[in-house]
């Protein structure tokens, strides 16, 4: 047993403490006062804690109110994109793998509750050809502006923290700013919504490294009265496309029994939220729409195989898989596996695209024995006189 643990030693330690207190009282006149007022200090701390809790609650309540306001604004924007008749120019800039963005400029006409007509006016340098127009004749799933539609707003609420960002302006139009934050607090997107009409005017999208990957603007906006427009703007009837009305996820998942690959979700919180089918000259095509509220991946499937040569496509490797892309930005890509042709069109970040490509089916390289076996089979078929 050591001397420091004996009761005597403890008494000696107590005397040492008293001596130290006396010295401190002489050296620091305020020390006895502070020591004697210890119960008062606890009260102050309690008050501070209460105040902190109050502030925290206020902050939480403020965030909740900010989030509710942001959700309300985005919901109104999605409704405005449907119910308002408007015309304007949409400028879409996408940063893919290169430093220069891909820019598309389109003129948009929309009639309240009905048709949206889009005509591309200017495309990026890699594009060419005459302009074309697209139309959505289905009033149940109207085409929005800048990706602000009701289904995407719902996904946005699920996957991001929405916050009201204050007032702003876009091209001299007063706007309300809404921010979408990731779980780690980083900024994922920012929306500018028109004060008067709630129409989306601008949207910026950032990746996790805070680099901009998309910027959309809706400019030169002209708004028409709802009651005054009863026909498509300009009186032009756009024929419906080959696609069916959008199918709900439940109906899409049921198509798995018919040999289609329908996954309820893809990596990076991408959920199946819509889809459609089209009958083409080469067979039935299934479109599956996945999104997290900001990025959309359209996965097209068709039974068959890619031809030996694909004009206009370049072979590349994504996540170790050999695929074909149409442009340097790799926004459209295709490959075939086990009798199914997969085509992706997306505006998602590159990392998300790579993860999605990696999780979908791909044919493994045949290997030496596989290649030899296939070659022998081909040689045999070539020399077979009865073939």
């Amino acid at each position: 047993m050591s001397a420091f643990s004996s009761p005597v030693s403890r008494r000696r330690d107590g005397r040492g403490a008293l001596l130290l207190a006396a010295v401190l009282a002489v050296a620091l006149p305020g020390f006895p006062v502070a020591a004697c007022s210890a119960p008062g200090g606890q009260a102050a701390r309690s008050a501070q804690q209460a105040q902190g809790r109050g502030q925290q609650e206020a902050t939480t309540q403020g965030r909740r109110q900010s989030s509710q306001r942001a959700v309300r604004l985005l919901t109104e924007a999605a409704q405005a994109a449907v119910l308002t008749s408007y015309q304007g120019e949409e400028i879409v800039s996408r940063w893919g793998t290169g430093t220069q963005p891909t820019v598309l400029v389109s003129e948009i006409w929309h009639v309240s509750g009905g048709q949206t007509v889009t005509q591309t006016l200017q495309a990026d340098a890699s594009s060419s050809g005459q302009p074309y127009r697209s139309a959505d004749n289905d009033a149940q799933t109207p085409e929005g502006v800048l990706g602000v539609t009701a289904p995407l707003v719902n996904l946005l609420k699920q996957n991001y923290v929405l916050a009201y960002g204050g007032a702003g302006s876009v091209y001299n139009r007063k706007a309300q700013v809404v921010e979408a934050l990731r779980g780690d607090g980083s900024l994922a997107a920012r929306f500018w919504l028109d004060n008067a009409t709630k129409l989306p005017l601008e949207r910026e999208v950032f990746d996790r490294a805070a680099h901009p990957i998309g910027e959309d603007e809706f400019i030169n906006v002209a708004v028409f009265g709802r009651a005054s427009v009863s026909a498509p703007v300009g009186g032009v009837a756009v024929p419906p496309g080959p696609w069916t009305n959008p199918l709900p996820p439940v109906q899409l998942l049921a198509l798995r029994s018919q040999g289609w690959l329908v996954r309820p979700a893809l990596p990076d919180d991408l959920s199946l939220f819509t889809g459609a089918q089209a009958t083409t000259s080469s067979g039935m095509v299934l479109d599956l729409g996945y999104s997290d509220g900001l990025s959309v991946i359209s996965l097209f499937e068709q039974h068959g195989n890619l031809p030996a040569r694909l004009a206009g496509w370049q072979q590349t490797t994504v996540d170790g898989k050999i695929i074909y892309v149409t442009e340097p930005g790799q926004r459209s890509m295709t490959w075939s596996s086990k009798g199914m042709v997969y085509t992706l069109i997306t505006d998602a970040p590159t990392q998300t695209v790579a993860a999605v490509v990696g999780t979908l089916p791909h044919d493994a390289p045949p290997g030496f024995l596989g290649r030899m076996s296939r070659g022998l089979a081909r040689l045999a078929s070539w020399v077979n006189p009865f073939r």
């Binding site: 068959g304 290649r371 076996s373």
Partner: protein, 185 residues
């Protein structure tokens, strides 16, 4: 006039006695035909003699070669050079008499070697051809599909509420004109 006939060859061979030889010579002096035949016979006889005088030298060479190979017969050249001849040129096996006949052995080896080379060539050639033919895409069953990017792009645009991010294709150039009652809020 009767010619010499068989006596002509006997005259050439020196087999006639004195009286017969004189009569034969007298006939040759007056008969040009028998003289010509006698000349031909002599020439033929000289050629035959010349052959018989070279033959012993060749026979000696043959016998020497046979002696070198020993009683077992000639060996393959390589074996003879390396193992069959001793330092003084005498075949080692000359006194043994135990060497097997060696002629079938190189034939079998050559045949085996030829078969092996042929088999290896066949395998290598077939393997190269199979590896080459096995390259390229998998000839999977089913139709060949070229993705209709324009069609897909428009559907993607409708899904996203954005713009089709595809290369614009040919389409109707007519545009809907701007509405006359457009008003700014």
């Amino acid at each position: 006039m009767s010619h010499l006939g068989n006596r002509l060859s006997a005259l050439v061979d020196g087999e006639l006695d004195g009286a017969e030889r004189d009569r034969a010579h007298a006939h040759l002096a007056g008969c040009e035909q028998c003289r010509a035949e006698a000349a031909e016979l002599r020439a033929l006889k000289q050629k035959l003699r010349a052959l018989t005088t070279r033959a012993p030298a060749e026979a000696a060479m043959t016998s020497r070669l046979i002696a070198m190979t020993g009683p077992g017969g000639p060996q393959p050249p390589r074996r003879r050079l390396l193992h069959g001849i001793s330092g003084n040129g005498v075949p080692r096996s000359a006194g043994r008499g135990s060497l097997r006949p060696a002629m079938p052995r190189p034939r079998r080896a050559r045949r085996r070697r030829a078969l092996m080379i042929g088999a290896v060539s066949l395998v290598v050639g077939l393997g190269t051809a199979a590896f080459t033919a096995g390259g390229g895409g998998e000839a999977a069953p089913g139709p060949r599909i070229t993705p209709q990017v324009e069609l897909y792009g428009i559907e993607h645009a409708i899904t996203t509420g954005g713009l089709p991010n595809i290369s614009p294709s040919a389409g109707p150039p007519a545009l809907p004109g701007p509405a006359a009652h457009a008003t700014n809020p």
